[in-house]
């Protein structure tokens, strides 16, 4: 999985992922997000549109970042995956109702 990050003005950061967000990839993602929030990047948009599969460990990395960011006054918002196999874990755990999710980065930026 590639993890591309871009830091924008003030507290905003975008993260673009692809491939599988599973237990193998969750640890490096969690480290990146934790460091970013500690550095003050508390408004994070994670683009999951090209992610093919998400498991509970991948979900846990996103949930931890969301909780950390909200505690600091920010949020983690998600661009919805296109693949049904990646969306499924959000629906089964009802986290599709907990995260702010949008069709693309522009949509989420305009909701700020």
């Amino acid at each position: 999985m590639d993890i591309l990050t871009a830091r924008h003005e003030r507290s905003l950061m975008t993260v673009t992922l692809d491939g599988r967000l599973d237990a193998l990839e969750a640890a490096p993602l969690r480290a990146i997000l934790t460091d970013a929030i500690i550095d003050g990047q508390i408004d994070i948009i994670i683009d999951l549109s090209n992610v093919e599969f998400v498991d509970s460990a991948g979900l846990a990395a996103l949930v931890k970042a969301m909780k950390d960011a909200r505690r600091a006054g920010g949020d983690v918002r998600l661009v919805s995956p296109k693949a049904a196999d990646a969306v499924r874990v959000f629906e089964l755990t009802k986290f599709d109702k907990v995260f702010t999710m949008g069709l693309d980065v522009e949509t989420l930026l305009n909701r700020r």
Binding site: L24, F53, S56, V63, R88
Partner: protein, 138 residues
Amino acid sequence: MTQVTQLELEATHLGLRDIAGWLDQLFESSGWSGSASRGAIELAIHEIAANVVDHAAPPDGKIRIDATPGECALHIEVADKGTPFDANDHSMPGEDAPQVRGYGLMIVEQVAQTIDYCRADGRNLWTATFNIEPAPAG
């Protein structure tokens, strides 16, 4: 020669990735190619096996999966020689504040028609049954 109904994988997070390709072969040999159930079943088997990696840590480093395809259902057994599963050490997520971990078995319970656990002959044995939906029309 290993049959397509059996998979022995390394009890590591990297090893879990073998499940996807094996399941593709199993579905193809069972005449279920394109079934809408495949993705959910992969996720459920993956979560059972991930639970073994994270909590059972089998000393031989192996997880064994046996599949029995039926007419319109799939029966799966996941076995390992690791630490016994302790249900008291495994809290399910609640409805209110979102917790970070503990969603694996919750996912399995929603996808599988049945899910059971027993400890026998020094092995953890998870058994699950999944309905097979036909491939989408067109």
